[in-house]
Amino acid sequence: MSWSALATPPPQETLLAAPAPPEATRTAYRDRLLELLPTDPRLICLDTDTGLFGPDQTAAAGAQYLDLGIAEHNLMGIAAGLAASGRMPFVNTMAAFAATRALEAVKIDVAYNALPVRIMATHGGLAAGHLGPTHQALEDLAVMRALPGMTVVVPADAAQAAAFVDRSLDLPGPLYVRLGRKPTPALPPGTPPPALGRAQTLRRGRDAVLAACGPYPVQACLAAAEELAGEGVECTVLNLHTLRPFDTAALVEAADHSGLVVTVEEHWRSGGLGGAVAEALAEAAPARVLRIGMPDTFVDTVGGHEHLLAHYGITPARVADTVRRALGLAPGATTD
């Protein structure tokens, strides 16, 4: 596709059509895995008392479901042993515990051996809401994408979570999938299925690139782009759902054109998507990178997922304002 085509936004009726109802990425993953278990004897689901799977579901899965209790390091070790024996374990825990408590087992037992363990990490980012910093995972993407050979994915909606379960069946090495907790909005109708390692262009424009991962950040970029379009500022919106391997080519192509990239994520501002974008652009295509994410603090207020996003500025308004300021526009001004 030639870059000149990007000047033309996709037909607006596509974006305005009724989206799918909100659904949790974790339940979409669960339902797809349960469908696949009887079809593939390699698959085995290892749980850690998460409650994601109901009694009827675990009974139906038979020996392909095991609850190992509240022991995440052990979970990764057993998964590694099973994977080295020809299985493909889907391990279930919260992102906070997968990426920090069990990290050494993930690093040594799983990643070092390049084993096909699927780490299905729920409560990613701020999704744990009022449960607080012990259950929020704002470092997991930095940690996981530092590990050699680890594929790191953040589905932007339930359909993508299910799609990545399917994609993972052909992936020989380890995979980290960051999932949410409660239902989150769906991507616009007509969004094509995601491919591992390939950025998704959700909207095209030549003035700025909005790059995001995860349901609310991607929604924030789409909403901000819509708002800015009304002011004559056209933005490309990239869903960078795969942080590793990183689709540098797609990013560089978009950034080369506009020279301005705003990243949006539910992650501390270091090391996650913003870090990945900054690294890629610093090496390949100088562009200004502005990072929107969790400020350098632990959550210090009670609130649900959306409340915390608003509280810490991971919002369409912040995205739009960041673009306006970077382009030297007063709020509400246009490019004309």
């Binding site: 085995i44 022991a71 040594i108």
Partner: protein, 291 residues
């Protein structure tokens, strides 16, 4: 002696003969380790020598493994959870035919594959280890895989006693018993010493057998330098249906070299030329019976 476990004699008389042959193998293993520890990097001699008989019994009389078919899906699995005893494992693997004995001379030297802790690049090494407290969960995974695939095979893991201070060991101990993995055998090299002193000085370990029994394991204890006893116990597992087995082996750190035996300093040594010669000479004298 490379016969698979199933073909080995098991009468008391034959066990004694087997043990005699294994003792000579163990002596050669120690010679290799002494030579490696005289290299530029030195090595973890103490824990390698406390576990020499355990590794020798496993690889020469218990494990169903074949250097000609190291990836045979029906093979028994072994994980050296106390990965710092790599020099001992390398020596045993070389004696068993997994890698050329001459390659041991490259241990710790730039460009070779014999790192200070076991890596998968070394034939016969099932899992890289070194950070303590990982091996039991890995072996649980192997044993579970063997059961799910209905393979008549067993998984073994060797842990150090200091390693029991890692909480992940107890996570895996719970899981193995809960999963009723009676094709899993864990061995503890109970030499009583860790890097800086007695294990009991860091974490009291009285009633070790009772602790594991209370977790649901079948537990036995033995002299970890008694080859006949090791072969007898390890071959006979599972000892109780539905329970993973734990063999607590009383051992001596640095066993076989009098000036290192029982000393914390034996944990990691770089042998000078003089001490290399002393250690070599000590290994040529007839083995003493365990105290």
């Amino acid at each position: 002696m490379t016969a698979p476990a199933a073909l080995l004699p098991r009468t008391a008389e034959d066990l004694a003969e087997t043990a005699e042959a294994l003792a000579e193998t163990a002596r050669r293993v120690r010679e290799h380790v002494v030579d490696m520890c005289a290299g530029p990097e030195g090595g973890h001699l103490g824990g390698a020598f406390s576990s020499t008989e355990i590794l020798t019994a496993l690889y020469f009389a218990v494990l169903n493994v074949d250097p000609a078919a190291p990836d045979d899906p029906d093979r028994d699995r072994f994980v050296l959870s106390k990965g710092h005893a790599a020099v001992g494992l390398y020596a045993v693997l070389a004696e068993r035919g997994f890698l050329p004995t001459a390659e041991l001379a490259g241990y710790g030297r730039p460009g070779t594959r014999l790192m200070g802790h076991p890596v998968r690049a070394v034939p016969g090494v099932e899992m890289p280890t070194g950070s303590l407290g990982h091996g039991l969960a890995l072996a649980c995974g192997f044993a579970l895989g063997q059961r799910l695939d209905r393979r008549p095979a067993r998984s073994f893991v060797l842990m150090g006693d200091g390693e029991l201070q890692e909480g992940s060991v107890w996570e895996a101990a719970i899981a193995a018993a809960s999963l009723r993995l009676d094709n899993l055998v864990a061995v503890i090299d109970r030499n009583g010493l860790q890097l800086t002193g007695p294990t009991d000085g860091k974490a009291p370990m009285e009633q070790l057998a009772e602790r594991w029994r209370s977790f649901g394991w079948a537990v036995r204890e033995t002299d970890g330098h008694d080859l006949a006893a090791l072969v007898e116990h390890l071959s006979a597992a599972p000892w109780e249906p539905g329970r993973p087995g734990l063999l607590i082996c009383r051992t001596v750190k640095g066993r076989g070299v009098p000036f290192l035996e029982g000393r914390p300093a034996a944990h990691y040594v770089t042998l000078s030329a003089r001490n290399h010669a002393r250690a070599r000479a000590a290994l040529r004298t007839p083995a003493r019976r365990p105290a």
